[in-house]
């Protein structure tokens, strides 16, 4: 596999995404709500409750939004990246060039992965800065960064992103319009949303060991999805069954 070809395919998609305002807005709106909106909710909590104890629980729960985000953002990107090629009928001339199936798959995956991870990390930086700003006086120390958000950003978020990209490649192979692909791809968010709700109602505690266990499970699921995607993403399959 030639990295230059992978990057070429991904960078072409980046150029197209820049012109798709719906993709840009969906990323920006999500990151603004999570990175700025949640810390302000936290500030309100700090102002209205006198106790220090619930603040770390809220911060840990809110941090999990960056896992949800890294799974959510690739849904719109991967759908445009693959279904967009199907809609524009550009897969046939693209597949007639001297690139391999693996390079094309890796290029498409990179195109969805990089914006999702970069926006997640930028959002997380803003989130951590604001959270510390609003809570350090009450807590007496800066709560973030900590090991929890370290595992979330360095393990869980990339793994969730890979799962989302893979799932959306599979979904995109079966549908012919972007909206359907996005709606079907959104089912991947359900387990992450369930974890968040369970943590909010304090049935599940997002400790380091819980987050590491979730990362391991996600890694195994990612491997399974990777093999499925690799089996699906075959030149002949794409041309005769996808389009």
């Amino acid at each position: 596999m030639r990295p230059t070809k992978v990057w070429l395919i991904a960078s072409k998609d980046f150029r197209i995404f820049r012109k798709k305002t719906s993709i840009l807005y969906s990323i920006i709106v999500f990151e603004v709500v999570v990175s700025i909106g949640l810390p302000f909710i936290l500030r309100r909590v700090v102002e209205t409750t006198g106790a220090r104890a619930p603040i770390p629980v809220f911060i840990d729960s809110f941090s999990f939004w960056f896992v949800i985000g890294s799974a959510m953002i690739p849904i719109s990107i991967a759908s445009y990246s693959i279904v967009g090629e199907k809609v524009q009928k550009s897969l046939e001339p693209l597949l007639a060039t001297p690139i391999t199936d693996e390079e094309l798959l890796a290029g498409k995956a990179t195109a969805a992965f990089i914006p999702a991870i970069i926006s997640t990390y930028i959002g997380a930086f803003v989130f951590m800065t604001l959270v510390d700003q609003f809570t350090s006086a009450r807590l007496g120390y800066r709560y973030l960064p900590n090991w929890n958000i370290g595992v979330i950003l360095l393990l869980l978020a990339p793994l969730a992103c890979i799962l989302s990209v893979g799932t959306n490649v599979l979904v995109s192979s079966r549908v012919n319009d972007v909206r359907t692909a996005q709606q079907m791809g959104a089912f991947i968010l359900m387990p992450f949303a369930a974890v968040y709700v369970l943590s909010e109602v304090q049935i599940l505690s997002l400790t380091i060991s819980t987050l590491l266990l979730m990362s391991l499970v996600l890694f195994i699921v990612d491997l399974g999805v990777f093999y499925l995607v690799k089996a699906t993403f075959q030149r002949e399959e794409i041309l005769t069954k996808w389009s």
Binding site: L8, K89, L91, P93, A96, T97, P98, L239
Partner: protein
Amino acid sequence: MIDVFNLTKKFGDTAAVDGLSFHIDEGEVFGFLGPNGAGKTTTTRMLCCLISKTGGEARIAGYEIGNKPDSLKIRGIIGLVPDNVGLYDELSAYDNLDYYGQLYDCPDRQRAENIEHYLRMMDLWERRNDPVGGFSKGMKQKTALARALIHDPKLLFLDEPTASLDPESSKMVTDLILELKRRGKTIFLNTHNLDEAQRICDRIGLLKTRLLTVSTPEQLRRAVWGTRTVFELKEINESVLSAVQRLKGKDFTVEGNKIVVDVADPAEENPGLVRAIVSAGGEIQFTTQLNPDLQETYLRLMEETK
């Protein structure tokens, strides 16, 4: 340039292409004619290494289709214009071509030169920075042709390049193909447009899952129809018919005041026929050589295979 032997493609139990064998020389324009579902696009996709073959062999410039390392080399020396142009509407004409030039490993300087050369050739240079989404169908087709040529391929596959174009755009694209032919490109053309095939192609293959025949348009017409001369007389009488019968036996028909005669060599036989008719008292008003066009030939051959 292309050698195909017994090439077969099946989807499940259904043969899309069955036992094709043909050869295409370098610099030749080869037309592939056939109805919808005849296997034209399937054959093109096999030759472009986009789908696998079920049986048989095919070589392009010595490289074998179906062999993975050779497939990459084949895709590097061919250009394809599929039936749907498949351009990126959001990108400009220049960016579309630049992207493909890079996919084909075209060096930076040569790529820039080729983009300018082909966009100027297609009369699109002034519109190079416009998104192709705003182009007309004809302009998109020309951009797709430029894209297929960006790496100077030895062999060009064109799948219905003038389908759904208006007559003006269609002529523009056909003229471009003729220009490429003059420049010595080998062209494999799938088409429904029989006038186009007649005008452009050196040889034609008629396909209906199996290859029915391969020959030049002229040979094809002769093989199917032979050559016929029409004598239009002021009046036809028995003595004129007897005179023609003495020369041609049963190889003629009478349609009103016309006698239609099958002739193997018009230059050799027509003077004798004229003399015979005039000697028998016939007054010839007009003489016409019948040349059925490719469309009639095609329809007759397709009818025979039903």
